[in-house]
């Protein structure tokens, strides 16, 4: 347990927002690569597979780099 805990901690002294941004940018790059390779829009599953991440992690990250509320809801900004 101690080892797993150390693994989780040591690799991640950073803020969540920062790590999500990193994943999101990687996802955007991978999407671009797959798009060029197959000449079609890749599915989220394909992007997640390529990144070796669960697809919900990619969703969470991609969402984090967007506006917190919908683009069309100016009221909170």
């Amino acid at each position: 347990i101690g080892e797993i805990r150390r693994y989780l901690r040591d690799n991640n002294p950073i803020r969540v927002s920062r790590s999500l941004r990193d994943i999101a940018y990687k996802a955007i790059q991978v999407r671009e690569v797959l798009l060029n390779k197959h000449s079609r829009e890749p599915s989220l599953n394909e992007i997640a597979d390529e990144l070796n991440l669960p697809r919900e992690e990619v969703i969470f990250a991609m969402d984090a780099i967007q506006e917190p509320v919908s683009l069309f809801e100016p009221i909170y900004h």
């Binding site: 992007i47 597979d49 683009l71 069309f72």
Partner: protein, 146 residues
Amino acid sequence: MKLHNRMKIELMSLPENVGLARIAVAAFASECNLDVGELEEIKVAVSEAVSNAIIHGYQKDANGVVTLTATLQDNVLEIIVEDKGRGIADLEQALEPGSADDPERMGLGFVFMKSFMDEVNVESEPGRGTRVRMIKKIPKNPQAEN
């Protein structure tokens, strides 16, 4: 009809929960093998419906509960967003573009929902609440292996 998956979420009526609803629905829909753009459209539709429940339904009273139900049956994704808030008196007018009651708002929420989803039904009763039911047909096989 084969039921593939279902989830129900109850959220406090807080602006930060719009993001939560959006991520949960995207994660739910992601088993349908959609691409990022298709997921984005579903997320926008859900954001609009949940924001409406919070802003208009409960008028930002955090104690309200917004209920989101997502069901995946055959190739059909159904999303229902419900509130027990103040309801809509003139539903026909509310569904039109630019019907915002506040000049700062664009009044495009329902328009987005209708353009991003294949079907949108709204039921509302003044003083009792609103229920928005949205349907999206999934072009690909839901449980397809990648």
